[in-house]
């Protein structure tokens, strides 16, 4: 048996154990069945949910907020990072502002989002963009600071224009950092998209969880939480695949692929 197969087998075993415990605990009366239904009922509820059109519409809403917010934050952060790097003195001057704004938890903006946009896509976008902007910006700033001075001087003495220097020297250096920022931001954006739906009530997966909870549909609520986890995994995997493709030329990825 190869090691990958063994690892997969162990992993499946882990999931089987989890399911077994979740099935046995309520049935044996260790936990109250009203609060933690057996795993089989949760999975059945998930299968039921997946057959309804409402669920897919909610999922599409969540993913739309996620993708749109992430795209806006990503473009804004890359632009801001390059500008901060290009204008002399701006990096030092902006440091304190960034350090102050960054730790403000984006959920603190929930009241503001409610006032400005109500329960709509706009609220979701405000939170998602604010949260993921900083993740990307910090990485872009690390990345552009990492440019090799010799390479930069070489490009300068060969008379490359400012734009070509950004294109051929700064961007390839910063790209691995930018991709890391994108990976972090994608996870954060998904969390905040669901949060906005859950707390403000904009349409999407979070709102359905909220409705399931307030109507006492416990198994459905667990099913939706499981679904949120699965979507989270899909988001992570998707960004990782993208990262490997974009950085296929980079030594860190090439080294991994080598036998």
């Amino acid at each position: 048996m190869t090691t990958t197969a063994a690892r997969a087998a162990y992993g499946l075993g882990g999931f089987a154990c989890l399911l077994l415990v979740m099935e046995a605990a309520p049935r044996l009366g260790l936990v109250d069945e009203r609060f933690l239904p057996p795993a089989s009922r949760i999975l059945a509820a998930l299968a039921d949910e997946l057959r309804t059109a409402d669920l897919w519409a909610a999922l599409a809403e969540t993913l739309r907020g996620w993708a749109l917010g992430l795209a806006i934050a990503f473009c804004a952060a890359v632009l801001a990072g390059v500008v901060i790097d290009a204008v002399p003195g701006l990096r030092a001057a902006s440091h304190s502002t960034i350090e102050f704004l960054r730790p403000i938890p984006s959920v603190a903006l929930i009241p503001l989002a409610t006032l400005l946009f109500g329960a709509s896509l706009g609220s979701t976008l405000l939170l998602v963009v604010y949260a993921s902007f900083w993740q990307v910006l910090i990485q872009v700033l690390y990345g552009v600071a990492d440019v090799d001075t010799v390479a930069d001087d070489t490009a300068r003495s060969y008379g490359l224009s400012r734009w070509s220097r950004v294109r051929h020297v700064v961007w390839p250096t910063a790209l691995p950092y930018v991709m890391t920022g994108l990976r972090l931001a994608a996870a954060v954006a998904f969390i905040l998209a669901v949060t906005a739906e859950l707390v403000i009530g904009s349409p999407g997966l979070g709102l359905r969880i909220q409705i399931a909870q307030s109507s006492g549909a416990v198994a459905t609520m667990y099913a939706l939480v499981v679904l949120a986890g699965l979507v989270g995994i899909a988001v992570n995997l998707g960004v990782r695949v993208l990262e490997r493709r974009v950085l296929a030329w980079h030594p860190s990825v090439r080294g991994e692929a080598a036998p």
Partner: protein, 253 residues
């Protein structure tokens, strides 16, 4: 003197400009939602320099710290054995990855169901979100321990307790600190959300209360306070990190 002035200009220059721009905007715009900076400052002083600080802000911070500490202990305590034993790791890791992928806020309604709406629930919510970054980073850190070092330890017959302290925990500490840093921002988010859901005290509750009463300057002052809290905690954590990892940085520099 001029060095101090230059430092002040660098640190305070852009924030001052931004506040001035905000001020100018608020005096031009008639929007009800954009109060002028002095209004926010007055609301900040009136609201938070009174008993609200004791009644709302301190309990919030206490719950955050309790949940955070519990998550750190749990994360490191579970992460070390999972990192040390490859079979356990292969079994547990996919399950852990799944739990990490669940957005922590969706657990709030679930934990409310299981634990009611008192302080226990809020601490549990914070633990449920903070534990994953710490746990998974600990596993990574322990797994990546230098093999030569562990072999050396074994050959010299270093006892398990000191091996754990001097090799495993110390070797994994840069990763553990990285996990703690990620967990801090998750913790603040969850603190606010758990209070917005069901609470009669706390920062999240108060800010939502102001918003519902259209007390806009007060609402802004609450957002400002959360920002200051986040900033303060991350500065504190960086200070701790520098002390704990001084050997790491001096080694790499």
């Amino acid at each position: 003197m001029s060095a101090v002035a230059r430092w002040a200009a660098r640190v305070l220059g852009l924030p001052a400009l931004l506040v001035l721009a905000w001020w100018a905007y608020s005096s031009v715009s008639q929007s009800f939602y954009v109060p002028a900076p002095p209004q926010v400052a007055r609301a900040f002083a009136d609201t938070w320099l009174s008993e609200r600080l004791v009644d709302d802000a301190l309990p919030s911070v206490a719950r955050l710290l309790a949940g955070y500490a519990l998550a750190a202990v749990l994360g490191v305590g579970l992460g070390v054995p999972i990192g040390l034993f490859p079979r356990l790791r292969a079994t547990a890791e996919p399950v852990l990855e799944f739990f990490r992928a669940v957005p922590p806020p969706v657990l709030v309604p679930l934990i409310m169901l299981l634990a009611g709406i008192d302080d226990t629930m809020k601490v549990l919510v914070i633990v449920s979100g903070c534990v994953w970054p710490v746990l998974l980073n600990t596993v990574e850190g322990v797994r990546a321990l230098d093999e030569v070092l562990s072999d050396t330890c074994r050959i010299y017959g270093v006892r398990p307790a000191s091996r754990l302290r001097h090799l495993v925990l110390r070797g994994a500490s840069p990763q553990i600190m990285a996990g703690l840093r990620q967990a801090l921002s998750v913790g603040i988010i969850l603190m606010v959300i758990s209070e917005m859901f069901a609470s009669s005290s706390g920062l999240g509750y108060t800010i939502v209360l102001f918003q519902r009463g259209f007390a806009i300057p007060e609402m802004w002052s609450g957002i400002l306070l959360l920002g200051l809290l986040g900033l303060g905690l991350s500065v504190l954590l960086r200070w701790v990190e520098r002390r704990v990892l001084f050997w790491h940085w001096s080694h790499r520099a």
